[in-house]
């Protein structure tokens, strides 16, 4: 009896490990609040960026990011500084969580950042032939095994792909692959086909996201008056010598 008891105790770690693997292999449930590991990072890898077309290079050269080596303090022109919406895939890389909700025939993504949301249609429809441009594009998804493959088109060309000023065009076709690695971890891999901007397909490395069971999506809006007040008090003077307003 006693031996049997100890045997069952010893089996617990193995059972936990097995159930975690079994879960990952058997899960088409992506619901929950997720945030990029280490607070998020760009879902595109600039080190893997294909050569740009002249159209994209001109846009890139004109972009002054808020982070990275090309910053010019006080001259930043990321469209979000004017409260333009961020699009996909940039929203997947902001240091704030998003919530996935799965309902019949649709998957909804609610991004805390600026309260953006998108629909991924799961009812088998095709992408529209000639879509009108949209900030979030138009997205359809289907399961391949336990990987959700999301195809999107119909984006406008205004948001950057990342915080570093990498552009995309209105011809971008985006593929996102979602896979739950284990109970606590989601993996997203992004591929960009944008012949107007890049001479080859841009294939990126998988990025990992942590499940936050005790978090709820908080309110967060971009308000131009608040952006202006912050810019005047902090962002602009931080890049100028001897300037501390107030």
């Amino acid at each position: 009896m006693r031996n049997r008891f100890f045997l069952s105790i010893a089996a617990i770690p193995a059972l936990v490990a097995f159930s975690s693997v079994a879960f990952a292999q058997g899960s088409r449930d992506l619901s929950g609040v997720w945030i990029g590991k280490r607070g998020g990072n760009a879902v595109v890898d600039t080190a893997l960026r294909p050569p740009m077309t002249p159209w994209a290079q001109a846009r890139f050269d004109a972009a002054v990011p808020t982070v990275g080596p090309r910053v010019i303090a006080g001259k930043e022109n990321d469209p979000i500084l004017r409260c333009n919406p961020d699009g996909i895939p940039k929203l997947l890389g902001v240091p704030q969580p998003f919530e996935i909700i799965q309902i019949p025939n649709r998957m909804l993504m609610f991004f805390e950042h600026n309260r953006h949301w998108r629909t991924i249609w799961m009812d088998g429809r095709k992408l529209p032939e000639d879509p009108d441009p949209a900030w979030m594009g138009y997205s359809v998804g289907k399961w391949e095994g336990n990987t959700l493959v999301v195809e999107s088109s119909g984006f406008n060309d205004i948001p950057w792909l990342d915080f570093y000023g990498d552009p995309h065009s209105d011809a971008m076709r985006l593929t996102e692959r979602y896979r739950r690695v284990d109970r606590e971890t989601l993996e997203i891999t992004v591929t960009i086909d944008d012949p107007k901007a890049y001479t080859k397909t841009w294939v990126n490395k998988p990025k990992l996201y942590n499940l936050k069971r005790d978090w709820e999506i908080a309110e967060h809006y971009c308000v131009i008056d608040e952006e202006t007040a912050y810019g005047d008090a902090i962002r602009v003077p931080a890049g100028q010598p001897g300037n501390t307003p107030r």
Binding site: R38, N41, T66, A73, Q96, A229, I234, P245
Partner: protein, 107 residues
């Protein structure tokens, strides 16, 4: 991770620790702003502007609109502007009761 707006303006390799008297606490977007006075090495009171991440994320790490008010005496630890302006990026706040609050996103 501090991906937004102007974090490159700060010298992340330098850390300053200041005994601060809060003059205003703006628990607002896009980034929470803390305005305070602190004495320099000569004892002269200097005014500082300090920023951290947004309320949505700070609220997940123990902050609220009531965390600070004008007149509070706290210790502020952060990274100064590269230009020498008295503007800084918050790393950590220590309240008068010893409670510590991170000004960056914890993993």
């Amino acid at each position: 991770m501090f991906a937004h707006h102007g974090a490159s303006a700060y010298d992340r390799g330098a850390t300053v620790t200041l005994k601060a008297t809060i003059t205003e606490f703006k628990y607002a977007n896009p980034h929470v702003q803390i305005f305070f006075d602190a004495k320099d090495d000569k004892g002269t009171v200097q005014h500082w502007n300090c920023e951290t991440i947004n309320p949505a994320m700070l609220s997940k790490q123990g902050w609220s609109k009531s965390t600070l008010k004008a007149g509070d005496q706290v210790t502020i630890i952060g990274h100064p502007s590269r230009t020498g302006s008295q503007i800084m990026l918050l790393e950590k706040l220590v309240l008068a009761n010893g409670k510590e609050l991170a000004g960056i996103l914890l993993d």
